[in-house]
Symmetry: C2
Subunit: 220 residues, 2 copies
């Protein structure tokens, strides 16, 4: 189990996030990381010798299998800390990312695995992104907040972020749970409430507060 510097980890993570569509370019990375292109080239040479990226001058880069493995471990740390910050320390949803940027580089595997256990093995971070398990396995379908799902696109509930009994009562009443297949039929801009349709149920109306806590996966 090798150990990488904070900078190396930041580059690896950024490549992982950017490479969804093919190879990543020097300028893309330099924009993402707020550094100069020349610095990116320097680092890519280094990561190449460490066999973490595929890289040929002027041709962009992609993570190797090993680079991907490392990226997933960093993302695991990041998202577990985010979950901890939101769930236990009561940080706001939108404040956790920045703090987790620092915590994610504290590396001991034992620490992270114990944190995971303490948090009861959460599968999604506060933004609905999946948390890789201790082997780096990650759910490949991204979860999207119901407020961001396009009209008439069927999805399956994968995660609800608030687990309060009040909310669960409401969800039970609406016959919505993890695995429920549903579709957004109409959104009302007045209060951002929406009408949704669950199979074999009549259409029903839910508030923005509730939708905010429901995450669905769908094929794209």
């Amino acid at each position: 189990m090798l150990n990488y510097s904070t900078s190396e980890e930041n580059y690896i993570k950024a490549i992982f996030h950017l490479q969804k569509d093919g190879t990543v370019t020097t300028n893309e990375l330099s924009a993402e990381l707020q550094t100069r292109p020349a610095s990116v080239t320097d680092m890519m040479k280094k990561l190449k010798t460490k066999k973490l990226v595929h890289y040929k001058a002027y041709r962009g880069f992609r993570l190797t299998a090993e680079g991907t493995r490392v990226a997933l471990l960093i993302i695991r740390r990041h998202r577990l800390w985010e979950f901890f910050l939101a769930e236990k320390l009561k940080f706001n949803w939108d404040e956790v990312h920045e703090v987790a940027e620092d915590l994610e580089h504290v590396g001991s595997k034992k620490l992270i695995d114990k944190l995971d256990e303490f948090l009861d093995f959460p599968r999604f971070d506060p933004h609905g992104d999946p948390i890789p398990d201790s082997n780096g396995k990650i759910e490949n379908t991204r979860q999207v907040c119901l407020t961001d799902v396009p009209i008439n696109k069927p999805g399956v509930v994968g995660h609800v972020s608030d687990q309060s009994s009040e909310m669960l009562e409401l969800l039970g009443h609406k016959k919505i749970g993890i695995g429920t297949r549903l579709e957004v039929k109409k959104k009302f801009s007045f209060d951002q409430s929406m009408e949704i349709k669950v199979r074999q149920q009549p259409p029903t109306h839910i508030s923005w507060e509730l939708a905010k806590n429901i995450f669905v996966k769908y094929e794209n």
Copy 2:
């Protein structure tokens, strides 16, 4: 609120720990931090320009008031994380220090204050050392585990690390609580149990398991 590098913080913390008896020397610091004396001199020059240490060439160094303030904030972070690791993540007593060495440099004041609140404002870390509050105020008397208190040295109970109702029941029965003045009369090596004396009570016998959870302060 200025921000210091991990190296700077490690030097500041080390000086704080070493300076209990007068000024700290270059060799003492280099031994503590596992670096070469020349590196210490370099850093002391830097910390001097930042007004964190008093320093005259060849004459050793001491923290300034500001340096002490910074040291206490670092120690606060360190000990809160230690407490978290032991109490919440169930790390062993002797494993927490190393991990906290990394976490202590993650600096956001908000994070640390929220962690403090989450932990319910603990006053002592798992080793019985006091945790500075968010203003850097620290209890000046060190707490020592009852198992480490010398025979016949009177001390006052300052802290019990296990708060289970089972243990509190036992303590209540023995008339021991925070603030109780007591003295270890005899230690039995067979099972490490001990006979103790509480004022206005007959001598009583307690197990090693119980003693392990009682921390006392005493003058030295």
